[in-house]
Symmetry: none
Subunit: 242 residues, 2 copies
Amino acid sequence: MSMQDTASSGVALWRLVADGIERGIADGRFAAGDKLPGEMEIAETYRVNRHTVRRALAALAERGLVRAERGSGTYVEAQKLAYPLRSRTRFSEIVGAGGREPRGQLIEASEDVATRELARELGLKIGAPLVRIEAIRLADRTPICVSTTWLSAELFPNAGVVFAATRSMTKLLEHYGVRDYRRGATRITAGIVDATDAARLDLPLGRPILVVDATDLDLDGKPLVTKHSRFVAERVEFLVEP
Amino acid sequence: MSMQDTASSGVALWRLVADGIERGIADGRFAAGDKLPGEMEIAETYRVNRHTVRRALAALAERGLVRAERGSGTYVEAQKLAYPLRSRTRFSEIVGAGGREPRGQLIEASEDVATRELARELGLKIGAPLVRIEAIRLADRTPICVSTTWLSAELFPNAGVVFAATRSMTKLLEHYGVRDYRRGATRITAGIVDATDAARLDLPLGRPILVVDATDLDLDGKPLVTKHSRFVAERVEFLVEP
DNA sequence: TCAAGTTGTCTATGATAATAGACAACTTGA
DNA sequence: TCAAGTTGTCTATTATCATAGACAACTTGA
């Protein structure tokens, strides 16, 4: 097939194929990490030579949207989420700014008691009653991180139920009358994903994760919540701004 | 310059040029009937070869958006004026609805006497005194039609002078107290432009014209005026609505 | 280990895109 | 009438687009 057959549109065939695949990624037909159909299969669906498909895939790979693995297939490369670390950090706003849809999902909510570290972070006494929320955050359909959040059970009774309903920490705090809050100390380390998180993050074992410990404060500097988050390293990129 | 130089976009250069010119037509930078810049000038503005510009213009000409005239230039082809044929037909309203400026121009006004056909159309006796008005109508600066209009000289004395002043048949009738009127029988045929009309319509000899004979009636059904109009076929399109 | 399926690379061919130059044919205005 | 400017047409060259076939290199699952 030559460009004449497409009514001589002035647009190269490989570009049409590339646009089609990109649309498939954008609208979720091909999710991040998914394996695309084989080059031969794509060639057949678009009625085009395999080399033309390769040209299209090369263009997408150039932009980092897909990644070819010899002998295995071509995979949708999850674009890294640019995650600015500022005093005011809202997951939903960050994801939305990237043109993606933020989602939160409750995994588990339970009661807990403050260890010495948790007590210090939250300004409570050791053994104070806490609510522990295990949640996962996604951009579009791609898991970005799982985080464990602790709140004082006395200040935020039934916080687990509220989070399950709102799916947003910001809205949870609003529910208890917290109009605004800001990020306190943030510590970042790295590690290897464990089996539990791997399953939750849809990630193979052995992959690196970014571990973030942070405490959010109200405007008076009083601790509200403290979190222990594990980000998929290959899906996120922290931006530290001056 | 080759396609590589445009970051290998997969879109042919001539297509980009064609799209640019088309946008210029769409947003009014180039009005209908306007002469486009010369091929060389376009080539310089887009930094492409003249032949690439010619390819772009050929694509636009294929779609009827422009028309090249050897030795003169390339012109924006006036889109055909959609001319609905209803019982209430006002040239100025039809042209205005298309976003173009209607104009009328008196060519000649003279006295005449009713032939048998004119007498029948106007409900007068053969030989009755008439006013004959020769006028041309334009949309923007493009001639659309020339029409010969006959009115009773007794009912509309000095009609020629009034039309020269008002340049509108509707206003002429208003001047004589006719508040409203409607279209009676309309007959449409086609023919070839004669030398006189060709000059008036700025049209080469041999081009087809639409010939419309119509009589306008007042609200009681009494004939007011009868017309013999010659429309430039390539500039107008009659719409017959149920 | 092996077969099937995948991506990577090579050669080859024809059509199209884009460039370049030259000249013909025509229009316009001085 | 003439010069300048316009579009039309021709040849020619280079690069890209698209196709086709063959085989290598690799992964995966049986």
